[in-house]
């Protein structure tokens, strides 16, 4: 344990690709980043995360994870509950530190002050004492942006997600879907180049969820942002992503990377495309759905 900690510290201090030798995913139909044209905006090598638990002692949450996300790419992670995908996202956001390996976001450590990413949680996490507009403006206040320009942008974003007439409402007066849309405008306000989303539509009903997925695709296409989205819904991942990373149950490993070759913009008809169905079936197969003792995935 101590040796492992020490090596983690060394790896972090020197930013080397330390730790155990990075193991590649079994199947990688995706060409390496350099061949893809755009530079990697997120680069993870040999990432391992252990944490201490009172009951179970030292727990391995993420085991030797390596992947890259290119600039402007839409990447989804699917995995069963408790596989550590949220932990992975928190590491990328600079909220949680990792144990072993290297993580670079735009060439810098995730905790670097320059990496002010947009973050969307499963719950909207709006501040109930602030109006929709004030919630959207939170990053401007934190980062000390120009108030006038930020307010203009906030109104523009609220118009984009159809919340403009609710700018003066408080979160308690909005439905769950509207609150989640407000949390997206907040994540976009400071125009971050990377948007991290942790099951952003998990708590919404199926119809709202479809609408939000279409809206998210539109926002992504219009803004050219890099989006890294976690979900436990395989169809949602296939529908949204350029590339799907499939994670195993705890300890989380990346089992496979799958590029989704479906034309854009995708709409609800995409879901009846045979390629869509094949990809979904393939990922389900990876989780052993249909076999006994399958992990929980919907």
């Amino acid at each position: 344990m101590n040796a492992r900690d020490a090596s983690a510290r060394v790896a972090e201090d020197f930013g080397s690709g330390g730790g155990p030798v990075a193991r590649q995913a079994h199947v990688s139909p995706v060409p390496p980043a350099s061949a893809g044209g755009a530079a990697p905006t997120i680069e993870v090598k040999g990432l391992t995360k252990t944490y201490k638990s009172k009951r179970e002692g030292s727990v391995l949450a993420l085991d030797d994870i390596s992947f890259t996300v290119r600039d402007g790419e839409f990447v989804c992670i699917v995995g069963p509950s408790g596989c550590g995908k949220s932990t992975l996202l928190k590491i990328l956001a600079g909220i949680v530190s990792h144990s072993v390996g290297t993580v670079a976001v735009r060439g810098k450590p995730p905790r670097d002050a320059a990496n002010r990413l947009g973050l969307v949680f499963q719950a909207p996490v709006l501040l109930p004492w602030r109006t929709v507009l004030q919630n959207t403006l939170l990053p401007a206040q934190v980062l000390g942006l120009d108030r006038g320009a930020a307010t203009a942008r906030a109104h523009e974003l609220l118009r984009m997600v159809g919340l403009e007439q609710f700018a003066g409402s408080y979160p308690g007066e909005l439905s769950g879907g509207m609150q989640q849309r407000c949390s997206i405008t907040r994540a976009l306000l400071h125009d971050p180049s990377i948007l991290l989303m942790d099951e952003p539509f998990g708590a919404l009903d199926a119809m709202t969820r479809d609408t939000m997925n279409l809206e998210l695709q539109r926002i992504w296409r219009e803004s050219g942002k890099t989006i890294f989205l976690i979900t436990h819904s395989i169809p949602e991942a296939v529908f949204l992503a350029d590339r799907v990373l499939v994670m195993s149950p705890r300890p989380g490993k990346i089992v496979e990377e799958i590029s989704v070759d479906l034309p854009r913009p995708r709409d609800l008809d995409t879901m009846s495309d045979p390629v869509f169905a094949d990809t979904v079936r393939h990922i389900r197969g990876l989780f052993g759905i249909g076999a006994k003792d399958r992990p929980h995935v919907d």
């Binding site: 949680f121 206040q141 934190v142």
Partner: protein, 282 residues
């Protein structure tokens, strides 16, 4: 009484005027009137002596006399109310401010917590009113000793509630701020402190009551002026009606202070669910 409410809610009870509804709405006042009348009649009928339990009308007359001129006489209410109110308000403001500050420091700084918590826990288990005689010795018969006793009483609920509030901020809110690489003070100012306000206000409502308690106990132990002093002197003269009249004023003062805090809370915490069941009627 609940049966009457149900009856008035029936659709066939469409009349604008309903005795059941009227009684229900003014139940508090009506029961008070009935109680006062019953006491008045009962005490007169059984000829209970004034120095044991005076009739409500005698308490009322004592109140009227107390508010009559000469206004600035120490045996009248005005100066005494001013003294007790000053003591209570000063200890409320100072004790709450120190309590909120200390609660914040204890949560935000591990060193402060390790250093101060044993003392806090130790002091908290001391019945603080027992310190009143010492405070009079140390700080004299003036209002200072009463204010300091009140500060000691109001400090702890605020310290504990602020610490509890700041420790129970939703983790997602903190993580949101840390994803923006917010400075610690910014996170405190924009997220943690406002999130803790419902707890802090619960502490302030307790402090409102404790601040008056501190003032009165301090005056009992030794003082020149105040409603506590007045109660002692009326008691010494076996003027029980006068004593009870001063008690009525103290009750009104307590209610007013507590209501002011509740009003401020309803203005500032419009977004928070109300936990106080006593308020759910209003």
């Amino acid at each position: 009484m609940s049966i009457e409410t149900d009856a008035s809610a029936e659709p066939h009870e469409a009349r604008a005027f309903s005795i059941g509804r009227l009684i229900d709405r003014h139940l508090g006042i009506l029961s008070f009137i009935v109680l006062v009348l019953a006491l008045e009649g009962g005490l007169t009928y059984f000829a209970v002596p004034d120095y044991v339990l005076p009739r409500p009308s005698q308490i009322f007359m004592s109140l009227v006399r107390g508010f009559a001129p000469p206004f600035l006489s120490p045996s009248q209410y005005y100066i005494n109310i001013a003294t007790t109110l000053t003591e209570a308000l000063a200890s409320f403001v100072l004790g709450s401010a120190f309590g909120i500050l200390a609660g914040t420091l204890v949560v935000e700084f591990k060193g402060v917590r390790r250093l101060a918590l044993p003392y806090v826990i130790g002091l908290q288990s001391v019945p603080k009113v027992a310190l009143a005689p010492l405070f009079v010795v140390w700080f004299g018969f003036g209002i200072e000793s009463k204010i300091l006793l009140g500060v000691l009483l109001t400090f702890f609920p605020l310290l504990i509630n602020t610490a509890a509030g700041l420790s129970s901020v939703e983790r997602d809110r903190i993580e949101l701020m840390s994803s923006l690489k917010a400075k610690r003070w910014t996170t405190f100012r924009l997220v943690k402190f406002p999130s803790a306000l419902p707890y802090i206000f619960a502490g302030l409502e307790m402090a409102a009551v404790y601040s008056i308690l501190g003032a009165v106990v301090g005056e009992f132990v030794g003082g020149n002026s105040g409603l506590g002093v007045l109660i002692l002197s009326r008691n010494a003269a076996l003027d029980i009606a006068g004593s009870l009249a001063a008690l009525v004023i103290l009750a009104v003062m307590g209610i007013a202070l507590q209501r002011s805090v509740a009003f401020a809370r309803s203005r500032m915490l419009f977004w928070a669910p109300v936990h106080d069941t006593l308020d759910s009627d209003q």
